[in-house]
C-alpha cells in the first residue's frame, strides 16, 4: 500500500546537487584534464601495443603479401637446355602475378650439405630465400622437375585466398600414407597454417610446398636440416626426414596443412606413386615428373618436352 503511488519528486532541488553550481571555469579545467588524461592513456596504450607487437620479432610485416618462387637448379643432374626451359617457365609465372623468383644453384650449398644427398639443399635454399627477401609473406618452393602448367592461376586465388584453404585442407588424414597412426589435426584452422604441402601415395612430397614467412619457417627449416637427420641415411633423404618430423613433432604438424596432391604437385602419368587422383589432368597448376632424374629408363628432358610445348602454346595464346 505504501508503494501504490510512485514517490513524488520533490519540487525543490536537492541540496546535494552541487555540481550544477560548479563554476564554469572549474568545469572547463576538469574537462581539459580529462581529455589530456585520456590522450596520454591512449598514447601509452598505443605505444605499448606497438612495442609488444614489434617484440613478436620476425613475423612477416602485415603489409607485405609478396610471393617468392624458389627453384633449385642442379646443373649436374639436368642439362642446361632443360634448366633454361624451367627458368623461362618460372619467370613467366612470376611476371604474370608480380611474384619474385629466387634461383639458387645446388652447388652453392655443397659445403653445407656435406656428405648427405644434395637433395637436402632444399632447406638451406629456402632459408636463403627468406634471408634475401625478408619482407615477402610466402615462399613457394617448386622442384626443378616440375613445370607450372596453368600460368593464369595465381597462388592467391588457387590456395592463399582467405577461406580457400579451409576447403582444401585434409583433416584427420594419416600424415604418411597409407596408414600412419599420426593423423593431421581434425580441428585445424586456416589461420594456424604456416606450411602447405601435399602427399603422394607413400610420403609427403617436398617437391612443392608453400611456407609462410615467420618464426615457424625458421624453426621448421632448421629442424629439417639438422645434421643428425642428414646423416641418418634415410632411404629417401629429405623426404623421409620430413615424414619423420611430421610424425614425431606435433608443433610442426600443428602448423601444417595437407592439401590434395593435384593442388600443388600433380604427378605426370609416367611417374609412379601418385596418390589417389594425384595424376596430372588438364588445368592443374603444376605437373611434376617425379623420379625422372633418378629412375632408370627415364629422361626428364624427354618427358618435359610435350608438356613444355603445351605450356608455350598456352602462354602465347594469352
Amino acid at each position: 500500500m505504501q508503494f501504490a503511488l510512485p514517490p513524488r519528486r520533490s519540487p525543490h532541488p536537492l541540496p546535494l546537487s552541487r555540481s550544477s553550481r560548479m563554476p564554469s571555469y572549474r568545469r572547463k579545467q576538469l574537462k581539459s584534464v580529462a581529455v589530456l588524461a585520456f590522450a596520454v592513456l591512449s598514447i601509452i596504450y598505443l605505444l605499448h601495443y606497438l612495442y609488444s607487437s614489434s617484440s613478436t620479432s620476425v613475423v612477416a610485416p602485415a603489409s607485405t603479401s609478396g610471393v617468392v618462387i624458389i627453384t633449385l637448379l642442379d646443373r649436374q643432374r639436368y642439362s642446361e637446355n632443360y634448366l633454361k626451359k624451367i627458368v623461362a617457365n618460372r619467370e613467366d609465372y612470376a611476371k604474370r602475378h608480380g611474384y619474385t623468383n629466387f634461383f639458387a644453384s645446388v652447388s652453392d650449398y655443397d659445403e653445407v650439405v656435406g656428405d648427405a644427398p644434395m637433395s637436402w639443399a632444399v632447406a638451406p635454399a629456402t632459408r636463403h630465400a627468406m634471408a634475401t627477401h625478408t619482407r615477402s609473406a610466402y615462399f613457394f618452393y617448386l622442384a626443378p622437375n616440375a613445370l607450372i602448367m596453368n600460368p593464369t592461376k595465381s597462388l592467391k586465388s588457387h590456395i592463399l585466398e582467405k577461406g580457400r584453404l579451409e576447403d582444401l585442407m585434409l583433416k584427420d588424414v594419416p600424415v604418411v600414407p597409407p596408414d600412419s597412426i599420426i593423423k593431421t589435426f581434425a580441428h585445424q584452422q586456416e589461420a594456424d597454417v604456416d606450411l602447405i604441402i601435399t602427399q603422394d601415395s607413400e610420403d609427403l612430397n617436398p617437391g612443392g610446398f608453400i611456407l609462410k614467412n615467420g618464426e615457424f619457417a625458421r624453426f621448421f627449416l632448421d629442424v629439417w636440416f639438422d645434421p643428425l637427420y642428414r646423416n641418418y641415411n634415410f632411404a629417401k633423404a629429405e623426404t623421409h626426414g620430413l615424414d619423420h618430423i611430421m610424425q614425431w613433432h606435433p608443433t610442426v604438424l600443428a602448423r601444417t596443412a595437407l592439401v590434395p596432391q593435384r593442388i600443388l604437385s600433380s604427378y605426370s602419368s609416367d611417374s609412379p606413386g601418385a596418390s589417389l587422383d594425384g595424376t596430372y589432368k588438364d588445368g592443374d597448376l603444376v605437373i611434376q615428373f617425379h623420379g625422372c632424374d633418378d629412375a632408370e629408363g627415364r629422361d626428364c628432358a624427354r618427358e618435359l618436352e610435350p608438356y613444355y610445348k603445351q605450356w608455350e602454346k598456352k602462354t602465347q595464346s594469352d
Binding site: 609488444s52 617484440s55 620479432s57 620476425v58 652453392d108 650449398y109 653445407v112 638451406p124 635454399a125 632459408r127 636463403h128 627468406m130 634471408a131 625478408t134 618464426e215 625458421r218 624453426f219 632448421d222 629442424v223 639438422d226 645434421p227 643428425l228 637427420y229 646423416n231 641418418y232 619423420h244 614425431w248 613433432h249 606435433p250 608443433t251 610442426v252
Partner: protein
C-alpha cells in the same frame, strides 16, 4: 515491552511533537525497571541523577577503594570536571541492588564505558584503540598480507613456478637410505620456504624410474615432460625454474624479480663467446641464414629471451635453468628429444637433455636468439669440489656476495651430498640471521672472547 515502539520518527512520515516523548504514557511510574531508565529521556535523567546522588550520600565504605583502576580513576577525574556526566549514568542505580557482589566489575566497566562516552576523549581513545588493533594486526597478519600480495597478479609472484626434481630414480633403481631421505626432506623444505615467502608456486616433480624413460623404452626425457606438465598445471605462470634436488636456496630475502627479472637484459649475455667452454662457433657464419640467425646478440630484446641457463666449466648446466612459457619453448620441448637423434647419440649424450640441448644449440640456428646465459653464480653457484677444488670466483659460491643458489652438482660421484647440503643449510641460516640474533651472537662472541682471555691469563 516498554520500548517495543521505536522512539525515532515513524516510517509513515510522522514526527514526535515537541513535548511529547514517544515513550511517555507507556512507562508506568511505579515500575522502576532498569530498562525504563533510558538515558535519552529527559524525564528519567533527573530521576537517575537523584538516585545516584542518594547513592553517594549513603556513603559506602568502599568509596575510597572504588577508584583504584586506571579507568575508574580517569573517570573519576573526568566526572569531577563534568558534573553533568554523573547524571548520565544510570548504572549507579542498578549496582546498588546487589552491590556486595558486583561492585568491582561494575566499577571498572562503568569507567570504560564512561570514558568512551565523553565526546572529546572518545576520538582519541578510539584512535588509540584503532592503533592498537592495527598493531595487533601487524603482529599477526602482516606476513600473511604481504604474502597474499606477492602471490597476487599485482605482486607478480604467481608468474614463477619452481620445479624441483625429487625422488630421482626412486622406486626401482635405488634403495633410499636415511641420508637420501634427509636430502629430500631438507631440499623440499628449503624451496617451500623460499616459495612461500615470495608467493611463487612449487611443483615437486617425482622423477620416479619409469619404464617409458628407461633406455630400451626411452620415449622422451623426464625434464621436458615434467616442465610441459607444469605449464599445463599453472596456466598463469610465465617462468618455470627447474631446480635439481641437490640445490640449496641460500638467500630467502632475494626475490627472483629483484634478482633477475626486473632488469633481465643487464644480467644476461647472449653472445656465448663471452664464456665458451664448448668452443661453439658463434655467430654462425652461414651465408644462407638471415640476419637474426647470424647475429651475435639475437635481436637484443629481453622479450625474446625464452630460456635462461648457465654454463659451468664443462658447458651448459641444466641443474638450474629457466624456461618461459612461449611458442618457442613449446617447440624446444618438442624437438629436444627425437628418436632419430637419440638412436644415434645415446652413447655420447651421457647427460641426456643437457648434451642434447648443447647439440641443438649448435646445430639449429633458430634456437640461439632466444637463449640467454646467466653468469653461473647468479643461479647456479657450485661448491668447491665441483669444477675444481679451488675458489674460482666465476664458478664457486661466494659467501660475501650472497649468491642465491648453491648447486651440489655431481655430489653423488664420490662426494657426500648430505654433508654438503647440511653445510650450506647451516651457512644459509647463519647468513640470514635476524638483527636480534646477530646482536646476541655478537654478545656471546664478545663474552666468549673475554672468557677465553681470562682463561688465557
Amino acid at each position: 515491552m516498554t520500548l517495543s515502539r521505536s522512539p525515532s520518527p515513524h516510517p509513515g512520515g510522522g514526527w514526535s511533537s515537541p513535548g511529547l516523548i514517544p515513550a511517555s504514557g507507556t512507562v508506568s511510574p511505579n515500575g522502576p525497571s532498569p530498562g525504563a531508565l533510558s538515558p535519552g529521556t529527559p524525564g528519567s535523567i533527573s530521576w537517575a541523577a537523584a538516585k545516584a546522588k542518594s547513592d553517594e550520600v549513603r556513603g559506602y565504605p568502599s568509596f575510597s577503594t572504588r577508584n583504584n583502576g586506571f579507568f575508574s580513576r580517569q573517570r573519576h577525574k573526568l566526572s569531577t570536571r563534568f558534573p553533568t556526566f554523573r547524571r548520565l549514568s544510570p548504572r549507579e542505580y542498578v549496582d546498588k541492588d546487589d552491590y556486595g557482589r558486583e561492585w568491582k566489575r561494575s566499577g571498572s566497566g562503568r569507567g570504560l564505558l564512561g570514558a568512551l562516552r565523553i565526546p572529546i576523549r572518545r576520538g582519541r581513545l578510539r584512535l588509540l584503540f584503532a592503533l592498537f588493533l592495527v598493531w595487533i594486526g601487524y603482529l599477526f597478519c602482516w606476513t600473511t598480507i604481504v604474502q597474499a600480495y606477492r602471490r597476487s597478479p599485482i605482486g607478480g609472484g604467481s608468474k614463477f613456478v619452481i620445479i624441483l626434481g625429487s625422488n630421482v630414480e626412486g622406486g626401482v633403481m635405488e634403495w633410499k637410505g636415511a641420508r637420501e631421505w634427509a636430502i629430500e626432506r631438507n631440499s623440499i623444505w628449503n624451496k617451500k620456504r623460499y616459495v612461500k615467502k615470495w608467493g611463487y608456486e612449487l611443483e615437486l616433480a617425482n622423477l620416479l624410474a619409469k619404464k617409458r624413460y628407461s633406455h630400451e623404452w626411452r620415449e622422451s626425457w623426464e625434464k621436458g615432460d615434467v616442465i610441459r606438465e607444469a605449464m599445463r598445471k599453472y596456466p598463469d605462470a610465465e617462468w618455470f625454474w627447474w631446480l635439481d634436488l641437490n640445490t640449496w636456496v641460500m638467500e630467502y630475502d632475494t626475490s627472483l624479480q629483484h634478482h633477475l627479472f626486473n632488469d633481465l637484459e643487464s644480467h644476461v649475455y647472449r653472445d656465448i663467446t663471452a664464456y665458451n667452454p664448448l668452443n661453439i662457433t658463434h655467430p654462425l657464419p652461414e651465408f644462407w641464414l638471415d640476419e637474426l640467425g647470424r647475429s651475435l646478440e639475437g635481436d637484443g630484446k629481453a622479450d625474446s629471451l625464452n630460456m635462461l641457463l648457465t654454463q659451468d666449466c664443462a658447458g651448459f648446466n641444466l641443474g638450474s635453468f629457466f624456461l618461459r612459457r612461449s611458442v618457442w619453448t613449446d617447440r624446444l620441448l618438442d624437438i629436444w628429444w627425437d628418436p632419430v637423434m637419440y638412436e644415434q647419440m645415446h652413447m655420447d649424450w651421457e647427460h641426456k637433455e643437457q648434451d642434447a640441448l648443447e647439440y641443438i644449440y649448435q646445430s639449429q640456428p633458430w634456437v640461439r636468439s632466444s637463449v640467454g646465459f646467466l653468469p653461473q653464480r647468479s643461479i647456479n653457484a657450485f661448491p668447491p669440489g665441483a669444477c675444481g677444488d679451488g675458489d674460482n670466483p666465476v664458478i664457486h659460491y661466494q659467501q660475501n656476495a650472497h649468491d642465491l643458489i648453491v648447486n651440489m652438482a655431481g655430489c653423488m660421484f664420490g662426494r657426500d651430498c648430505w654433508s654438503e647440503i647440511y653445510y650450506y643449510r647451516e651457512l644459509s641460516n647463519w647468513l640470514g640471521r635476524s638483527r636480534w640474533e646477530r646482536f646476541t651472537d655478537s654478545l656471546s662472541d664478545v663474552y666468549d672472547r673475554m672468557m677465553g682471555k681470562e682463561r688465557d691469563d
